[in-house]
């Protein structure tokens, strides 16, 4: 598992693009600092699937209280969050 920031951001972007594609939406221009819920690319159900994938891929748990836009709102903040969780 590559825990470089750029690699994590790229993996998150790819996952968002895949989830959006299931709903027939093109999310290929998602930026690292884009607020994912505000883009409309994926809805709440898609975000739940994204978090489930995030926890499974990086083998950790996100506490319920951390489900905020400050912690997990953008690909970049998600990458920073998992790196902190891993002590990096």
């Amino acid at each position: 598992m590559n825990l470089d920031t750029a690699a994590i951001v790229a993996a998150i972007q790819a996952q968002v693009i895949a989830l959006a594609d299931q709903m027939g939406i093109d999310a290929s221009d998602l930026g690292a600092d884009d607020l994912i819920p505000a883009t409309g690319y994926i809805d709440s159900a898609g975000l739940l699937e994204l978090i489930a994938w995030f926890e499974k891929t990086y083998a950790f748990k996100v506490p319920a209280d951390d489900l905020t836009i400050d912690h997990l709102g953008t690909p970049a903040s998600m990458a920073a969050y998992v790196r902190r969780a891993k002590g990096l």
């Binding site: 709903m23 819920p37 809805d43 709440s44 159900a45 975000l47 739940l48 699937e49 978090i51 489930a52 926890e55 499974k56 319920a64 489900l67 905020t68 836009i69 400050d70 912690h71 997990l72 709102g73």
Partner: protein, 367 residues
């Protein structure tokens, strides 16, 4: 082979007992002598002990239920993944009904060549389900086809193909739709709702708490819980000729996780403040998305809420969860108009009840 644990007879005169404590949960490992539940009558309380070591495959009751002596309370298996039998047999023919059979039950009695006094009733009247359960336990086959049962009214497919066993969630859905077809008398009503007002309310809550996930649907579900808590008729089912009003509101909320549709249950939801409810429901949703819900979190719904706004459908007619009288359906059509609808059990609710509830639900609460 699965082992049945039956509801015991406590007093000679009591054909029903109250299940005051349930200690068995699906998937749980048990040893001989473990207490699976406690039942009581006016005169005594009795522990129900496990007759065998194994795993709990199914539980046929909930705490507070009135259960019939001789019916199965728990199915045990040697392994946790064994399938529980779909139908359970009455163990004690002393419970045979003297209650009047329903019209459907009468028709089925004739088809199976049975007499009403030989079939135990689960409620005040002998129901078609009672007859089917008894016939299945005895291994009886109908002498004539059952006209009220579409599945038996049609021949099996004649074209070649292969039989694929249903997965557990598919069997659950089959049970749900069969309950609605065989037991409930479903009606359907829909109204438009003020989507912009609800969305503005949800956005304000989301910004205040910096939520990652939109709280719109959880807030609407919580409003439904509040309304059901004030009017118990919404949070009820029919048992025999009595309306069983549940002691607490257990909100079932549909969650689509890949190909699996869960009904995640928030127990005693009316006791929760709105934000506590939102956090709890979001936690259930995320664990459903990861297929990590506990069996107990998928049981005991007393009322339901379902949304297909994700698919931008203009209408969807939901199926009632077994032993509920109301399933609210939400969607937002492609033109942005909001629709609130409900499937309801007409034996418990009438159209005016449901329309009134949907109208109240169509506006966010005034803070």
């Amino acid at each position: 082979m699965a082992t049945a644990v039956y509801v015991p007879r406590v007093n000679n005169n009591d054909d029903e007992v109250k299940l005051i404590e349930l200690k068995a949960a699906v998937g749980q490992a048990v040893a001989v002598g473990d207490v699976l539940g406690v039942v009581e009558t006016d005169k005594a309380m009795v522990d129900i002990e496990s007759p065998a070591a194994g795993f709990v495959l199914a539980v046929r009751g909930a705490e507070g239920d009135t259960v019939t002596v001789g019916t199965v309370l728990v199915w045990l298996g040697a392994t946790a993944d064994e399938a529980a039998p779909a139908e359970e047999a009455a163990a004690d023919t002393d419970t045979a009904a003297t209650a009047a059979p329903t019209a459907k039950a009468l028709a089925l009695l004739a088809q199976y060549g049975l007499k009403a006094e030989h079939v135990p009733a689960s409620g005040a009247r002998l129901s078609a389900e009672d007859v089917r359960r008894h016939a299945a336990a005895k291994g009886l086959k109908p002498k004539t086809a059952a006209p009220a049962t579409p599945a038996s009214a049609y021949p099996p497919p004649q074209e070649p193909g292969k039989a694929v066993a249903l997965q557990s969630h598919e069997r659950g859905m089959l049970h749900t739709v069969s309950w609605q077809r065989d037991v409930a008398v479903p009606g359907y009503i829909e109204v438009s709702y003020d989507h912009p007002a609800w969305e503005a309310h949800a956005n304000a809550v989301s910004q205040q708490h910096k939520l990652l996930l939109s709280p719109l649907l959880p807030l609407m579900a919580h409003r439904l819980v509040e309304l059901a808590a004030k009017q118990p008729r919404y949070n009820a089912t029919l048992v025999g000729e009595q309306r069983h009003e549940y002691a607490q509101v257990n909100l079932g909320f549909t969650v689509q996780a890949g190909e699996v549709l869960y009904l995640a249950v928030v127990r005693d939801a009316a006791a929760m403040a709105p934000m506590a409810f939102v956090h709890h429901l979001v936690d259930l949703q995320r664990r459903a998305a990861a297929h990590e819900l506990l069996p107990t979190e998928l049981q005991g719904a007393t009322i339901g809420f379902s949304s297909m706004s994700r698919w931008k459908v203009e209408r969807h007619v939901p199926i009632l969860a077994p032993n509920t009288a109301l399933m609210v359906a939400h969607t937002v059509a492609p033109d942005g108009s909001g629709v609130l609808a409900a499937t309801y059990d007409h034996r418990v609710l009438h159209g005016g009840d449901v329309a009134t509830l949907l109208r109240k639900l169509s506006q966010p609460p005034k803070d």
